[in-house]
Symmetry: C2
Subunit: 368 residues, 2 copies
Amino acid sequence: MTGLSELLHDELQPLQRTLDTLETPAVLIDADVADANLVRWQQRCDDLGLANRPHIKTHRSVAWAMRQLQLGASGITVQTVGEAEVMADGGIDDLFLTTNVLGAAKLARLGALARRTKLAVVADSDAVVDAVADAAREAGATITVLIECDTGGGRCGLADPAAIAAMAKRISATSGVQFGGLMTYPAAGKRQQSQKVLEAAIDACKAVGIAVPVVSSGGSPDMWSDEGLAPVTEYRAGTYIYNDRALLNHGTATLDQCAMTVLATVVSRPTADRAIIDAGSKALTSDLLGLDGYGMVLEHPEARIYQLNEEHGLIDISACSAKPEVGDRIHVLPNHTCVVTNLFDRLYVVSGGALLGALPVDARGRSG
Amino acid sequence: MTGLSELLHDELQPLQRTLDTLETPAVLIDADVADANLVRWQQRCDDLGLANRPHIKTHRSVAWAMRQLQLGASGITVQTVGEAEVMADGGIDDLFLTTNVLGAAKLARLGALARRTKLAVVADSDAVVDAVADAAREAGATITVLIECDTGGGRCGLADPAAIAAMAKRISATSGVQFGGLMTYPAAGKRQQSQKVLEAAIDACKAVGIAVPVVSSGGSPDMWSDEGLAPVTEYRAGTYIYNDRALLNHGTATLDQCAMTVLATVVSRPTADRAIIDAGSKALTSDLLGLDGYGMVLEHPEARIYQLNEEHGLIDISACSAKPEVGDRIHVLPNHTCVVTNLFDRLYVVSGGALLGALPVDARGRSG
């Protein structure tokens, strides 16, 4: 992992702490595990002939995005204009912004981005197509627009093939924008349904004389499944860099492939069955993602984090054979890595059990 | 509100945006509503002869803490060493840190704080008392220690009066620390139970010859209740500055007293019954606090925010008479204001319908 080492060397902030003296709560990233996750997924995309366009919402760090590109990614995916700006500032020049952009000020920022990077966005209404086209013309740039398709996920997107074809025609006929293809985020476990909707949409576009250059799909939970991939040319996965308890529970990742833990200290043991750590909803978030409890304590897998206050996690340790004591430091595998990253200015990078330094979360808080 | 105007004048960052062109999602604070909340609560504390020690975890802004002190607060409450450092840097010199502090590096920071501010902390174990005392002696300072009591809340704290009295004796006999009294966070709706535990603890301390100078209680939900206040000398409330949907639902605040909203844009209307806004779990958080849905849309109170993705809120608008359209800007009353504040570097301050400027969230992310 020479490339990673070089990137980290440039990006990591030096620390006056070792792993033993780091103040808690702190987010630890095992660089070797994370990098192996990136390498393994790139290899699979290469094997399948899929373009790999990782979603950087999970790490929000320029260094990791650069590493993903170095390994062979065709570009990156971003979810907000703010993320796009941070990544462009970091030198990344091929961005796919998978959100409908609206509002005069934000559209002006989009136009400015299009002047300095290769930029694609999505749309699922004429209002968005027209707004993006206006912004592109205003900036003297061209923006690629993919149509977001609802293939069963029930989020944004068009589902009717005729409506998708009509919008493809509209995009093709509008100056400032060019038609880039179709984009979807399939429902978990429903990739065959997604395939049917996409194939019908592609046929409808072809029937009106419009080629579909890119079919972009995404999602970490089903990323290793071969089901229903056929029309897809590009894959957007995000969480796979760090993985988390939700993906572990889903069978997408093993525990050895989970790169992020939240280091916390047991600050109170008020009863025989209750331990309290200094990581609460401002460190772990309240995201449950269908799981029981707010994370898994690696040292005490029988423990259950049953409640979070803002700075405290309340743990039922009644089932633990060895009970954590006041002052113990424990590692929590968070339910959902992407929202944890976004709470911290920096993550602490570990390799071979040693603390290498702090990695800035460059786009933290850039939801606007 | 001359005092507030002066404080805001010093603290607000000027903007190139008006309220109409502000990029979403953005957190808006109605300064007049927030200030009236502060004035009303200070008046009640004055009427009751209670020391008001507001918890700054809700706003994490030096300017608001200064305003609370200007109105008559006896000092402030903080929940983390990081919050304490930010407030001390801002010139606030009377801090109550209501958490058990452990770990060599964090204790060293605590000692450094004690050299420059009046500082009290809590403890509920001998290990914490000894650690704080060591840190104080190391710094050549004295730290006041209150004993955290579990009066029914089931968080940290001792519940047994004899154990509390024994710890009070230990604190009194230890150099570097001095006994400051008792602290609790009562369970909602159980202040009479809290009263009984506190009175028994006070009696037990007196029986061993230890006076209890301060009895500190807290919590916004029951702050307006007269029940079980008798032994309490100091009150810690935080959320009341902004209020939120949880306190509205609890009957603690009216809608007119809610100062924080999240401004969002409707970016998609995929079906007749579904609207999607550009505020998701990275803007509203997944905190439910027992409520149905992730916030209340002020313009469409019949709408239900039934799912959050990271940057999108999915809204069921089937019950709405007038349906929001793509491009509409709406205001969401969040379930839990404290965790929303912590996601943003700045909040946007509004007065009389005009945007005054951006207020930095000075201690955002300072959970460590």
